[in-house]
Amino acid sequence: MTKILNVRNLGKSYISGSKRLTVLDDITFDVEAGASFSIVGPSGSGKTTLLGLCAGLDKSDTGSVSLCGTVLDSLNEDERALLRNKNIGFVFQDFQLLPTLTALENVSVPLELQGNKDAAQIAKELLQKVGLGERTHHYPSQLSGGEQQRVALARAFSNKPALLFADEPTGNLDEETGEKVIQLLFDLNKEAGTTLVIVTHDLDLAKRTQHILHLKGGKILTNETTTAS
């Protein structure tokens, strides 16, 4: 199978006060196209940093990331942004909807950035699919947490991404709502055939993906394949 994400010898450190803090050290793994993949580990293990680097939101100190055949290190910020717009979808723990845009406008943005003239129509259909067909013109502040995350899901799938990154997608939701959102995420993912990379500390959620990468102290502890299909 084609490798959609190649991570080689990735390292990242920050200066904290007078000390250098190594967050990621020599991380190497691949993600196959169409697979579901989770990154787990305790707080401070470097999960979110790894996601940021894989998605081209940040630059690594050492090693390289290749996304959909493109080596990210050689791209400038705008080139990485365009790559994200074409190939990547995001779901965040705290939803990250644009507060001044309605649900419909939020979902339309990635499509509009692609110059898609049917952006509003596609966004409307996606919102219907996530059960928010009646709330298209509501602003994020007028929606509940679960509803906001469903808008975020619709937005993440709107540009038909090859790869979807989800950072603690149920972290801000109660168990019941979280479960509904996860089910929706997997359903949409299956339907679109998207590669899914989830960052979570929830092992039950991780077990529903085909691969689990365990991180601890910025290093890979294990990289296992599950029985999930």
Partner: protein
């Protein structure tokens, strides 16, 4: 990399759409940014429009203002040469004018007036506006006079009443509302009385020492080149102590006078605009700070730096343009009020039309200044990382600091060029920029120092509310700096204007106090001197000065005759010296308004060699002479050789009789002379009685009542300061809007803190106290520093410009400081009302 396209497919249309979407949701807050600049633009546009209208009006009415196409004037009867020129050009009208006393037998009052004896068809353009209208012509044939309408009102005179001018008494046959050749200010000091020229000689007022002026008025053929005539005959006239004025040159001079005042008002308006821009910068800073997360999300979704930057730039530019449009419309409306405000300073009614240039300037200013001042906070949209979505980035990149320096330089350069455009003088523009930078820096420095001091010496023992209110002053994203700037600059402007007016008035009144004279008798002839003294002394009034004055002209300077010097085209010295009629006195000491600059003030003359005289420094400079140089004066036909023995620095600003040339005693005693006598009258009644008696017995003697002059000066200053205050009001109002804007913007930040405090159990009363105390500190600090700065600048003005003692008035401290503080307090509290009156959760949900 592979073949991924690196050009975004979302075009400018999408950017506009996003700017609109985002702006729509932030409407109220954005409107406040816009409001910050509206008044500044309105002020600039109104003054610009009015100045342009004034300029056009002056140009179009120049002939009416002069009453002729051109005129030849002289301060003496025209010499033979001048008379020949006048005759050859064929004058259509002649006038002699001078200041004199007029007496009104009806009520026994007297008043210093401007007598205008007119002959021929003057005014050749326009007309005397009189009541009744026929009087403008009738006075020539009916042997009566026209009297200034205001003067008639003041002295309760009616048509048909008598007025005594010198030895003659005339009936008043009309009141003058306006007359070509008179301006509003001069008529306030000495209102005009117009009479036929043929009576002037019989009034007996044209005597030695009288300051009179002859004007000959001409009409030119339609295509006649007046400028060429000016060029051809002006040098000849100059040499004969006469002058040529065309209607264009007079209107230019008039225009220039108002232009200077307009420049000053423009600067005041510009300061209001700058203040508004500081408000924009501050509000946009907070606004963009809150948008950074959204911008990071957009970048995360694939928007480029250029796209995200443009979304917010377009928002600000759109608002700036809208602010420009509203401000311009307001300014155009406002200028309609200017003719009413400035009426008393203008010699005619200004017709207001809508000028295009100021409107374009208003629109461009709105657009350009809001963008320029918003650029600094907007820069962060360019540099915000998409990683912000996952975690807060603490450090701003180095590039942003470099870009910020360029933006700041851009702002300074813009202020300089705009000031230069307004003032047309690079030194003044630099001084203005430095002044602005200094004021803003001091205010900003004090605000920083204040925050640092609170932090360093935090009063931990204070109660909860007092501590929390102090904490608010230096918490992250505090508005302390901006509020202190806005309040400080407004207070500084208003109180500086107030203090300056105080200095000017104090300077005028001080001279009239104590032993200083308050009545000055001009043109007292030598044979009248003793009799005049005999009238004054029995009333118990002191003769403070009895100054002899001899008129003379320069004959030669350093051995070169003035005639030769006039022909010398290479001469660099100031040529007015060559034609001037000097009014010279003699005395043995220097007076209080003089300081010796060089040489020795000689108090007598031993009748050997040249006469040692003393010159004022400006005469020495203009005549290019130093100590020991020789000057020969023509004293009414007698040549007197003198040598410069001393040079004095004279304070011409003092209401005192000052002289540029002073002779020693023992030289001019027998020369034809007249006298100036001064005394001090304890009250208006004594002054009026003395004036009446003097005018009755000596019609040629003019009396200047300094008390009246000071009242007039006060009146004029009051009017000017009213106009300046009117303009400064824009700064204050802008300051208030910036204040409201800043408070509203910070409301969104502090609302969470207040709600959190309420959730934790803080009572409304406590939150109210915290807010009240915070705004109280800000109000006192801002207005206090502003007033203190103005105190320093007023002291400097008094010291360096006016050379006058300065006793600060209590008004800025007693009224301005508490007034502004209370206003700040009320705005702050009014803003927090919604937090106090609603349940915490509701507030949080509303504010989103």
């Amino acid at each position: 990399m592979t073949g991924h396209p690196i050009v975004s497919k979302a075009g400018f249309g999408w950017i506009l759409k996003m700017a609109w979407r985002d702006g729509k949701a932030s409407g109220k807050r954005l409107l406040l940014f816009m409001a910050s600049i509206i008044l500044g633009i309105a002020a600039v546009v109104s003054i610009q429009s009015f100045s342009q209208n004034l300029k056009e009006n002056i140009a179009s009415q120049s002939k009416t203002l002069m009453g002729a196409d051109y005129r030849i004037d002289s301060n003496q009867l025209p010499t033979e040469k001048v008379q020949k020129i006048i005759d050859s050009l064929g004058p259509r009208g002649r006038e002699v004018s001078f200041a004199s006393m007029a007496a009104f037998p009806k009520n026994g009052a007297t008043k210093l007036v401007q007598i205008r004896g007119i002959e021929g068809g003057f005014p050749l353009y326009g007309e005397f506006e009189t009541i009744p209208p026929t009087a403008a012509v009738d006075y020539k044939t009916k042997n009566g006079v026209l009297v200034d309408a205001t003067l008639m009102l003041q002295y309760k005179l009616n048509l048909g009443d008598s007025v005594k001018v010198g030895a003659l008494t005339f009936p008043i046959i009309g009141s003058v509302i306006s007359a070509p050749g008179s301006n509003a200010i001069s008529t306030t000091v000495a209102p005009p009385i117009i009479l036929p020229y043929r009576f002037i000689a019989n009034t007996g007022l044209l005597q030695t020492g009288s300051r009179y002026k002859y004007n000959y008025y001409f009409k030119a053929a339609p295509k006649f080149d007046i400028a060429a005539l000016d060029k051809a005959i002006d040098p000849i006239l100059d040499a004969e102590n006469a002058d040529f004025d065309s209607h264009m040159s007079v209107s230019q001079r008039l225009g220039k006078r108002y232009e200077n005042f307009a420049k000053f008002l423009n600067l005041v308006a510009f300061i209001a605009l700058l203040l508004g821009c500081v408000g924009i910068a501050s509000s946009v800073h907070i606004y963009i700070k809150e948008k950074l997360r959204g911008i990071a999300i957009l970048k995360c979704l694939g928007a480029t730096r250029r796209q995200t930057f443009l979304i917010y730039l377009i928002q600000i530019a759109g608002l700036g343009l809208l602010g420009g449009i509203i401000g311009t419309l307001l300014g155009v409306g406002l200028q309609q009020a200017f003719p009413l405000i400035l009426q008393e300073f203008l010699p005619f009614m200004v017709e207001i039309t809508t000028a295009v240039q100021p409107m374009v300037i208003g629109l461009l200013l709105g657009l350009f200044m809001s963008v320029l001042f918003a650029l600094l906070p907007l820069l962060s949209t360019w540099y915000v990382s998409p990683l912000e979505v996952l975690r807060v980035q603490e450090n701003s990149p180095k590039e942003i600091k470099r870009a910020a320096i360029f933006v700041l330089l851009g702002i300074i350069v813009f202020i300089y060029f705009f000031a230069f455009w307004l003032l047309k003088n690079s030194s003044y523009a630099i001084a203005f920029v430095v002044g602005i930078l200094l004021t803003f820096s001091i205010l900003a420095g004090v605000a920083s120092l204040f925050m640092w001091l609170i932090k360093k010496y935090f009063p931990s023992s204070w109660g909860f509310t007092a501590r929390m209110s102090l904490l608010n002053l230096y918490r992250p994203n505090n508005q302390t700096m901006v509020l202190i700037l806005a309040i400080g600059v407004g207070s500084f402007l208003i109180s500086t204007l107030y203090f300056t007016k105080d200095i000017l008035l104090a300077k005028a009144t001080l001279e009239a106090n104590a032993e200083n004279p308050n009545m000055i008798l001009l043109d007292v002839q030598t044979n009248q001197r003793d009799e005049v003294t005999k009238i004054i002394s029995p009333k118990g009034l002191p003769i403070i000065d009895n100054i002899p004055i001899i008129t003379m002209r320069m004959h030669s300077i350093k051995g070169v005759s003035v005639n030769d010097m006039r022909l010398d085209t290479t001469l660099t010295m100031n040529k007015w010296i060559l034609n001037h009629e000097f009014r010279v006195t003699y005395r043995d000491t220097m007076i209080a308004s003089e300081k010796l600059a060089s040489g020795k003030f000689k108090n007598d003359f031993q009748h050997n060699g040249a006469i040692p005289i003393s010159l004022s420094d400006n005469i020495a400079r203009d005549a290019s002479v130093v100590i020991g140089d020789t000057l020969v004066f023509n004293v009414q036909g007698v040549l007197m050789q003198t040598t410069v023995a001393s040079i004095r620095v004279v304070d011409w600003g003092r209401m005192q009789l000052n002289f540029s040339v002073v002779f020693p005693e023992g030289v001019l005693e027998d020369a034809p002379q007249f006298h100036i006598i001064s005394t001090t009258a304890p009250d208006e009644k004594t002054s009026a009685e003395l004036q009446r008696e003097l005018v009755t017995k000596f019609p040629n003697v003019s009396v200047i009542d300094l008390r009246q002059v000071i009242t007039l000066v006060q009146g004029i200053l009051d009017k000017i300061s009213w106009i300046i205050n009117f303009m400064a009001f824009f700064s204050i109002l802008t300051g208030i809007i910036v204040l409201v804007g800043s408070v509203r913007t910070s409301k969104y930040q502090r609302i969470r803190e207040s709600v959190l405090l309420r959730t934790l159990g803080a009572k409304s009363n406590q939150i109210l106290k915290i807010t009240a105390l915070e705004y109280l500190y800000l109000g006192i600090m801002g207005s206090g520093i502003g007033i203190l700065l103005s105190l320093i600048s007023a002291q400097l003005l008094a010291w360096l410009v006016f050379d006058s003692p300065f006793i600060p008035s209590w008004v800025p401290f007693g009224i301005l400081l508490p007034g502004i503080t209370i206003m700040v307090l009320l705005i702050g509290l009014g803003n927090s009302r919604s937090i106090l009156n609603s349940p915490p959760l509701e507030v949080l949900r509303q504010e989103g």
